[in-house]
């Protein structure tokens, strides 16, 4: 298969910027990695999951969904060029697959699909994870995949769009995917196993209320877990009035806030710290499987990195399995 260096791939990306709004993993001023445009920082394909959720390109933290002026309502417009997003991990691709379902069933969310429609997704996997870790190769649920063999990236198209783009990439040499695929298949599944086991225990009602209160004691409600989770979809809608102009905003919300579920009557089904700590985990591990047929944590690990209190989903599931398994 075709193989390219990072520089060769960057050259290819530069050649398609007139057709696509290209977003790539870049290193920012102090080395923090983020999803930016070419030229906004050095391209850094290696390093694994970006700290922020890549699904934010389609569902950003804050956006104006419509603008009202007397006699004129303007809805959010689709971008001029479709997005080409590089740097998702295979776990992120799974998250995006869920997001596409969430924003389409039963209600089709135009604001999301304005950006998502026509977008090209490029997963990065292989021997380029943090601390030399191997990043799992995707299930093919993306357009194009760059699988690192440690020196170059094997270019693997998964869709017609991906094949079309692959054809336009200069060939930096031939490489075989097979050994990399075997390495990927041999990766451990501890994270997934832990989450699955914790989910079972919760569904069997084996996790007592006291456990969630213990988490509630520790949680400072920074909301970071929700804000970095690629499958958290909750948002708040409100209007900003500035003279005769009204902007309707939507803003990521968080189930770790007491205002999240508070009803107009004053009643709040999530009125305690413990119930809010439970809600996040329960939703992904119990409620979503009932609603969507699968757990909606795809093991990206971001909430474990972002939580100042050490309450990421992996840490919590490990505790559940240790204590109640």
């Amino acid at each position: 298969m075709k193989a390219v260096t990072s520089d060769q791939f960057e050259t290819f990306l530069a050649s398609v910027t007139s057709a696509f709004d290209v977003r790539v993993p870049i290193a920012l001023e102090d080395g923090t990695r983020s999803l930016g445009r070419l030229g906004e920082g050095p391209l850094v394909l290696a390093g694994g999951a970006l700290p922020g959720k890549p699904t934010a390109v389609f569902f950003p933290q804050f956006e104006t969904t419509l603008t009202y002026r007397p006699g004129c309502v303007q809805m959010q417009q689709a971008p001029e060029r479709p997005l080409l997003v590089v740097g998702l991990t295979s776990e992120d691709a799974n998250c995006l697959e869920f997001m596409d379902r969430f924003f389409n069933e039963p209600f089709h969310d135009d604001v999301y699909f304005h950006k998502r429609a026509g977008a090209v997704i490029v997963v990065v996997s292989g021997r380029c994870g943090p601390n030399g870790r191997f990043l799992k190769i995707s299930r093919g649920n993306c357009d194009l995949e760059l699988v690192s063999d440690g020196a170059r990236f094997v270019v693997v198209p998964h869709t017609e769009t991906g094949r079309h783009l692959c054809d336009r990439i200069d060939n930096g040499g031939e490489a075989s995917l097979d050994p990399l695929q075997r390495e990927s298949d041999a990766l451990g599944t501890e994270f997934a196993d832990t989450v699955n086991r914790a989910s079972e225990l919760m569904r069997q009602d084996k996790v007592p209320e006291a456990f969630w209160q213990e988490l509630g004691d520790r949680c400072i409600a920074c909301t970071g877990c929700n804000l970095v989770c690629p499958t958290c979809t909750c948002f708040d809608v409100y209007d900003w009035k500035c003279g005769k102009l009204v902007e309707r905003q939507r803003l990521w919300d968080s189930c770790q806030l007491s205002g999240f579920a508070r009803e107009a009557s004053g009643f709040n089904p999530l009125s305690t710290e413990g119930s809010r700590a439970r809600r996040r985990i329960h939703h992904k591990l119990v409620a979503d499987p009932q609603r969507w047929g699968s757990i909606t944590c795809f093991h990206c690990g971001r909430c474990d990195d972002v939580c100042p209190a050490g309450l990421g989903i992996r840490a919590v599931c490990q505790k559940i399995v240790e204590r109640y398994g």
Partner: protein, 689 residues
């Protein structure tokens, strides 16, 4: 998209994040720095929401001049000329000290430096101060006397290295969340001991080995009794005391008056609790003290600080990682505003205005003939002077004394009494309502500069977007003001030039320049451009030579409960809001979380008074009566009420007592006498825990 690395504008922890602006130049999110030593890819809820208020429709975007009883938009030239002319005119008629300047812990180091230069060089007065007067002036005075330096002795990383942490008067997980969680995880995951002294059941108290719940204002006897136990059981660090301290016998004599039984009686805790706390602290290899407003905001705040310093010295817990006396600064740049000399008694770097050689240095550098030699008015004493008619003019930058200073009616009278008031701010405030001129400032996201965090780390603030509307950065406004007041020494091309001047005149900042803090901030003292900064102060020796034991005796608060006002009212902040709410109340999720003033009351007290949770009540002191929503909770002990001061709808500082510490003039926000009762026509309001 544009991502700009900058420093959080809320508490003093000093987290760094990227402000993300969309292609239209609108801030749309925050991304924490994963590489920053404090943030490590994490933030608290305020940090995550620190972009939204910037574009709020309420932003001031053009100068306003009061005419015919209301504000009219004005051109910058007209407004600036008016401010300078009126202040100069007042000085001509009433003398240089008839005007005062309130600087701001929200603004940058460069702006604080320029404000104090404006006051001193352009307006020839030392009447310059900022809100550190209200929060940590007692710390600056107390620790400077004991150690020679009024700042946190250690670094935030030390929170993870301590074997015992004594948290007193700091609700750390709420007010410095990324420091609080370090303490929590050190306790839960590394096994450090935790002592909490706070009669509120704060989150950290849930993990404490010893939770002391002393009466408000009894910190000195509590600390004295702990030291009494340490000496009685010979747990003191004899070598440290002998080699590094002085005035030890005096400490022994005073502490001997406070056996734990006596401390227990004064404080309302048990002698056993005091003994356990003392042993736990003294037996640890590395023990640190963490404190905040619960220690400082008292009429004996300086004595409280001295007592903390005494305990640390007695047990040899200074000058090493994982130890120290660690006051947590409450605002993004309150440390820097102090460092910059936005204080009535010192220039930048705590160089005293009363010392002639220091004045001569600044006179030469600033090109002025004789700088004022008398200590000026502080925030609290300036308001008093205005109320008495002695102060005629006031320029306020980024402060809101109507909500933040004690006794709001007194502040209102003072502001109404001024002949001229000018306010520079990003939003209209309760204070700007009284102004004759309001100047619109750029927010932290719209300008360059530096903030200095609680661990003395000088960090960059960067312009992410252009100033909104016609607003301008404070540093530009101040320079214009200086020029229009007839002073030619305030022309700079950029804040970087200001920092270079600060470095030339300020020994502890001499090694700090923008090219050195591009990625990582430096911790002062940083005496030259090769110096790597100072994470831990007083290693081997104190700045003043030997540490000075300064024992104190118990002095009760100025106003205690009586038959008419049977409760102690204590005030502070809540997690969701920041100070007078100017920014957080304009952040959707934060304001949704808590959107009205509340008062915490113990369930037994509530039952006795027939007060239900969520009910609207009146809280009354000798100064005022306000309404608030009752939170019936065992967070507070019987006999104590707690109110946050963020809310203009129920301003806690209408109630507080303007009684000041005689040494540093900090008000006693933590104790006054109050009563509480059901409000007429009360409506039920729900709340969560």
């Amino acid at each position: 998209m544009n991502r700009t690395l900058t420093t959080c504008p809320y508490c003093g922890t000093g987290c760094q994040f990227y402000l993300v602006a969309d292609d239209a130049g609108r801030l749309v999110s925050v991304e924490p720095s994963t590489e920053h030593a404090v943030s490590r890819g994490q933030l608290c809820v305020k940090g995550w929401n620190a972009f939204e208020f910037v574009h709020h429709p309420d932003r001031l975007t053009q100068p306003l001049i009061r005419g015919n009883g209301r504000f009219e938009p004005a051109a910058w030239d007209e407004a600036l000329d008016l401010v300078a002319t009126r202040l100069v005119d007042l000085q001509k008629r009433h003398g240089p000290d008839s005007v005062a300047f309130f600087s701001s812990a929200k603004t940058t180091n460069e702006e604080n430096y320029l404000m104090m230069k404006l006051a001193r060089a352009a307006f020839h007065t030392n009447n310059v101060d900022h809100c550190a007067r209200l929060c940590h002036s007692s710390m600056v005075a107390g620790l400077a006397a004991a150690f020679g330096s009024g700042a946190m002795t250690n670094s935030i990383s030390c929170m993870e290295e301590a074997d015992c942490i004594f948290v007193t008067g700091s609700n750390t997980t709420e007010q410095h969340p990324l420091i609080g969680t370090r303490i929590m995880r050190n306790v839960l995951e590394r096994g450090a001991k935790l002592i909490v002294s706070d009669n509120r059941k704060i989150r950290l108290a849930r993990f404490a080995d010893v939770h002391l719940r002393p009466r408000n204002g009894t910190d000195v006897p509590l600390l004295n009794s702990m030291m009494n136990v340490i000496l009685r059981e010979r747990l003191e660090d004899k070598q440290f005391v002998a080699s590094r301290t002085e005035n030890y016998q005096k400490l022994r004599d005073v502490v001997a008056e406070y056996p734990p039984e006596k401390g227990a009686e004064i404080c309302g805790v048990t002698a056993d609790e005091i003994v356990r706390a003392a042993r736990t602290f003294a037996e640890a290899d590395r023990a640190m003290i963490v404190y905040s407003m619960g220690i400082t905001q008292h009429t004996h705040g300086v004595d409280n600080v001295r007592s903390c310093a005494n305990l640390a010295m007695l047990t040899g817990n200074l000058g090493r990682p994982g130890t120290g006396v660690n006051p947590l600064r409450g605002q993004n740049n309150v440390q820097g505003a102090c460092d910059m000399g936005a204080l009535p008694n010192v220039y930048s770097g705590y160089q005293k205005v009363t010392e002639a050689p220091i004045r001569a240095k600044f006179e030469e550098a600033w090109g002025v003939e004789s700088l004022p030699a008398e200590v000026g008015l502080g925030v609290t004493t300036a308001i008093d002077a205005a109320a008495e008619g002695k102060l005629k003019g006031l320029l306020v930058m980024g402060e809101n004394p109507m909500l933040s200073d004690p006794d709001q009616n007194h502040v209102r009278r003072a502001l109404e009494n001024l002949e001229f008031l000018a306010v520079i701010d990003i939003f209209p405030t309760q204070t700007s309502q009284f102004a004759h001129v309001v100047l619109p400032a750029a927010s932290y996201a719209e300008k360059d500069g530096t903030f200095t965090s609680t661990e003395r780390r000088v960090q960059r603030v960067r312009k992410a977007i252009d100033p909104l509307g016609g607003s301008r950065p404070d540093w530009e406004i101040l320079c214009e003001m200086g020029r229009r007041a007839g002073y030619a020494g305030m022309h700079y091309d950029s804040p970087s030039d200001v920092m270079d001047e600060i470095g030339r005149l300020t020994p502890i900042y001499a090694g700090i320049a923008y090219d050195r803090i591009r990625r990582v901030g430096l911790q002062w003292p940083c005496p030259d451009r090769r110096h790597a900064g100072t994470p831990v102060l007083h290693v081997g020796a104190f700045k003043r030579g030997r540490g000075l034991f300064s024992p104190a005796r118990y002095k009760p608060p100025a106003e205690l409960p009586d038959a008419q006002y049977p409760f102690v009212l204590s005030t502070g902040r809540c997690y969701w809001h920041f100070h007078t709410g100017t920014m957080t109340r304009r952040s959707r999720l934060l304001d949704r979380e808590v959107h009205d003033g509340y008062v915490e009351i113990n369930p037994d007290d509530a039952r006795a008074l027939g007060i239900r949770d969520g009910q609207r009540v009146t809280v009354t002191t000798r100064r005022a009566e306000v309404t608030a929503v009752a939170r019936v909770t065992d967070v507070v002990i019987q006999g104590v009420l707690f109110m946050p001061f963020h809310f203009e709808e129920g301003p806690a500082n209408a109630l507080t007592n303007n009684a000041l510490d005689p040494e540093c003039k900090i008000p006693e926000y933590k104790v006054c006498a109050a009563r509480v009762g059901s409000a007429q026509g009360a409506a039920y309001e729900s709340r969560d825990v």
